[in-house]
Amino acid sequence: MMRRRVTGATRMPIFAVALLAFSLGADAADTSPSPAGQALFRRHCGPCHLQGGTGTFMLGRRLGEQNALLESRTNLDDAYVRAVVRGGIQSMPRLSRAELPDADLARIAQYLAAPQH
C-alpha cells in the first residue's frame, strides 16, 4: 500500500510533494524492508529528496536523471551518505546531531545503501 501511495506522489504538483513526504514518514514504519530507515529518510530528507523536491532537481542537473532520486539509486554507500549529511555538499545544508542523531542517520544511510529499498 505504501508503494502505491508513493507512486501517486509523482503525479502531484510539486508543492504537494513535501507535505506528502512528511505524512508518509509518520506511518511508514511497518511496510518496508528497512522500515525505520525509510520512515526517517522521508521525514528528514523527503522534503528535498522525493519526487519533485529541490534536492532531486539539483541532483538531476548535476549527475543526470538516473541519479536524481536517492531512493532509486543503487550506487550509494552508507559512509558516503553519512558524510554528506554531516558535511553537506554543494548547496545542501548540513544536519546536526541534535536534529538528526547518529543512530537515526545510521538507519537512513543503511536504507539508502541497501541493494533494494
Binding site: F15, F22, S23, P47, M58, R61, G87, S91, S96
Partner: protein, 521 residues
C-alpha cells in the same frame, strides 16, 4: 571547522563549561567535535564561514534544562547563541554573529502544547517546525490554515521571532504572537501578558496583559530565550477567490502600489500583495547557464526570453480573497473597478470553496522548494536579501527600484526583486544569488549589499531584517540623536544580561563585555 574561541576565553575554560552543560543534558547533547561545529556554519555565507563559526553547541530538551544552562553560563561566562531550528537561511542559518559562541540549539524542544480550533491559536515550543504543526493540524482535520514562509523547513517560533512573513492574512508572523514564556539571561522564567497569572487562561487570547506588553521586546533581540509561544492561527475560509495579473514593464510597479495600497488599508485586500519579478520563475526551475553565459547582468533581450518561455510578466502578483463567497465576489468587484481606472490588463480569476475536493485554494503547505534559487549559478550556491522598508508611494517605490536595479547592473549581479505591498508600508526583498566558489562574485555581492545599505539609508529607508554580517551596519542606520535607540537597547541589554552571555551582537545589540566587537568581521 577548527575550534574558534570566544574573545578572551581559553580552551580550558570552554571545556569546563561544556562539561558542566553535559551534566545537565547528558554528554550526547553537547556537540563539540570539528564535524559538530561544521553543522552549525552558515551554508550560504557570503564570505568566509569562519567569520561566524561557533565553538560548540548544546541541545537541551526542556525549559528546565535551558534554565540550568543559563545559570551555568553565567558562572562560566560563556557566550551562547540561541537558535530554534537553525534554518534562518539567507540570514546566517544557525551560525552566531560573534565567532566562538556556543549554539544553544532548541530543536529538541518540539512539543505542540495546544492547538485551539475554536479560538484559533497554538502554543508551541521553539523546535516545532512548520512541517510538524502542519502535520498536526492536517491529521486532526482542524479547520485552521497556517501562514508559512517561503522556506517551510524552519521553526514556527523562530520565524516569528525574526519577523518572517508570508502573503496570507495572518502573514505578519510577529504580529500573531500572543504570550510567551521566556528564560531571562539569569535563568529566571517569566511569562508575558495574561499568561503571567499563575492560573491564567487568557495568555494566547489577549496580547496586552496588564502594564507594559513585553512580547515584542523578545523579537529580533537578545534579551531572553523564548521557550514557549502563543501564536494566532487563521480559521480556514469558506471560500477563496484568487485574482492574478502579469504586468509588462518595470515601471508598472508604481501605479500598482498606488492602486493596491488603499484597498489594503481599507481591508478590501487583507494580506500583503507579493509582486515578484520575472526572475522568480526562472530561478525556481532553471539555471543561469540555460539563458546566458556572460559575466555581466542578464541583458534585456534575455529577460524577454525568460518572460516568454515562462509566460510571466516583468511583475507578477496574485490578490487572494478569503471568506464567504458573497463577500469575496463583492470585494472582487471593488478591486476590478479600482484596477480598471489604471489598466486594461485582465485578471486571471480562480475560485475555490470548501466543497471542492481540489482546486486552487491557496491553502498553505510547507515546502523547501524555494531553496532551489541557490542553484542559479551552480557550484556551492548562496543567497542573501537586502530588504528595505519603503512608504507605500508609487513614485518613491519606483525610484528605489531604479536605484537598486542600477546598482545590480553595475555589480554584474542579476536583479531579483519582490515587493510586498502591505498597506502602510512596502517591504522590498532584493535577492542576491551567487556561487560561493566564485570569490570575485561573492565579493561583488558584499560590495553591492554595503552600497545598498548606505544609499537606502540616505533616502530614509532601512532593512527590516538582515544577515549576521550586516547587523552592525544596518543597526547603525538607526542613528537619530546620536544612536539613541542603540543606547536604549544596550542599556536594557546590560541590565538584563550583565555578564553578556546571550547572543552578543544580535541585531547590533552588544553587551558591555563584548562591545569592542561591534563592526568586527
Amino acid at each position: 571547522m577548527k575550534l574558534i574561541l570566544p574573545p578572551g576565553l581559553s580552551e580550558r575554560a570552554l571545556n569546563r563549561a561544556l562539561d558542566a552543560f553535559a551534566s545537565v543534558t547528558g554528554r550526547e547533547w553537547v556537540l563539540r567535535s570539528d564535524e559538530d561545529r561544521d553543522t552549525y556554519l552558515d551554508v550560504y555565507a557570503p564570505g568566509n564561514e569562519a567569520s561566524h563559526a561557533p565553538a560548540a553547541a548544546v541541545a537541551p530538551a526542556s525549559t528546565e534544562e535551558v534554565q540550568a544552562i543559563l545559570r551555568l553560563t553565567n558562572e562560566h561566562r560563556i557566550p551562547l547563541w540561541p537558535i530554534s531550528r537553525g534554518k534562518n537561511y539567507g540570514y546566517g542559518g544557525a551560525a552566531p554573529r560573534m565567532p566562538g559562541c556556543v549554539v544553544l540549539d532548541l530543536s529538541r524542544m518540539k512539543r505542540i502544547l495546544e492547538v485551539n480550533e475554536r479560538h484559533g491559536y497554538c502554543v508551541v515550543e521553539p523546535g516545532v517546525g512548520f512541517y510538524d504543526l502542519h502535520e498536526y493540524v492536517q491529521s486532526r482535520k482542524l479547520p485552521l490554515w497556517l501562514s508559512i514562509p517561503g522556506n517551510g523547513w524552519g521553526s514556527v517560533v523562530g520565524n516569528a521571532l525574526e519577523r518572517g512573513f508570508s502573503s496570507q492574512p495572518y502573514g505578519d508572523h510577529a504580529a500573531q504572537i500572543c504570550g510567551m514564556e521566556v528564560a531571562l539571561p539569569s535563568g529566571k522564567l517569566v511569562r508575558t501578558g495574561m499568561g503571567a497569572m499563575t492560573n491564567g487562561v487568557s495568555g494566547p487570547l489577549f496580547r496586552h496583559g496588564f502594564g507594559p506588553s513585553w512580547d515584542q521586546m523578545f523579537v529580533q533581540s537578545n534579551y531572553g530565550v523564548v521557550t514557549k509561544m502563543g501564536l494566532w492561527l487563521m480559521p480556514a475560509p469558506e471560500a477563496t477567490l484568487s485574482m492574478s495579473m502579469k504586468l509588462p514593464q518595470p515601471e508598472d510597479l508604481g501605479w500598482l502600489v498606488d492602486v493596491v495600497t488603499p484597498l489594503r488599508i481599507r481591508g478590501i485586500v487583507n494580506h500583503n500583495v507579493s509582486v515578484q519579478a520575472y526572475m522568480g520563475s526562472a530561478t525556481m526551475s532553471s539555471q543561469r547557464s540555460d539563458w546566458y553565459q556572460g559575466e555581466d547582468h542578464i541583458p534585456d533581450s534575455v529577460v524577454r526570453g525568460i518572460m516568454a518561455r515562462h509566460n510571466v510578466g516583468w511583475w507578477n502578483f496574485t490578490i487572494r480573497l478569503y471568506g464567504d463567497p458573497e463577500v469575496n465576489e463583492a470585494n472582487a468587484r471593488v478591486i476590478q473597478k479600482a484596477f480598471a481606472a489604471r489598466t486594461d490588463l485582465p485578471f486571471t480569476i480562480t475560485r475555490w470553496t470548501r466543497s471542492d475536493a481540489t482546486g486552487n485554494a491557496g491553502a498553505p503547505s510547507p515546502s523547501v522548494f524555494p531553496l532551489q534559487i541557490v542553484n542559479w549559478h551552480g557550484g556551492r550556491g548562496g543567497h542573501i536579501g537586502f530588504s528595505p522598508v519603503l512608504p507605500p508611494d508609487g513614485k518613491l517605490v519606483v525610484e528605489q527600484l531604479q536605484r537598486t536595479r542600477q546598482r545590480f547592473r553595475e555589480a554584474g549581479i542579476d536583479y531579483s526583486g519582490t515587493f510586498y505591498i502591505s498597506g502602510r508600508h512596502v517591504i522590498n526583498v532584493n535577492l542576491m544569488l551567487y556561487n560561493r566558489d566564485n570569490a570575485a562574485m561573492t565579493q561583488r555581492v558584499r560590495a553591492l549589499f554595503a552600497t545598498l545599505v548606505k544609499e537606502s539609508a540616505a533616502a530614509g529607508y532601512a532593512e527590516y531584517r538582515t544577515h549576521l554580517s550586516y547587523m552592525d551596519e544596518v543597526a547603525a542606520t538607526f542613528d537619530f540623536n546620536d544612536h539613541a535607540l542603540r543606547q536604549l537597547n544596550e542599556t536594557v541589554k546590560d541590565a538584563l544580561d550583565p555578564n553578556g552571555i546571550l547572543a552578543p551582537g544580535r541585531n547590533g545589540i552588544w553587551p558591555a563585555r563584548y562591545r569592542s566587537q561591534r563592526n568586527s568581521a
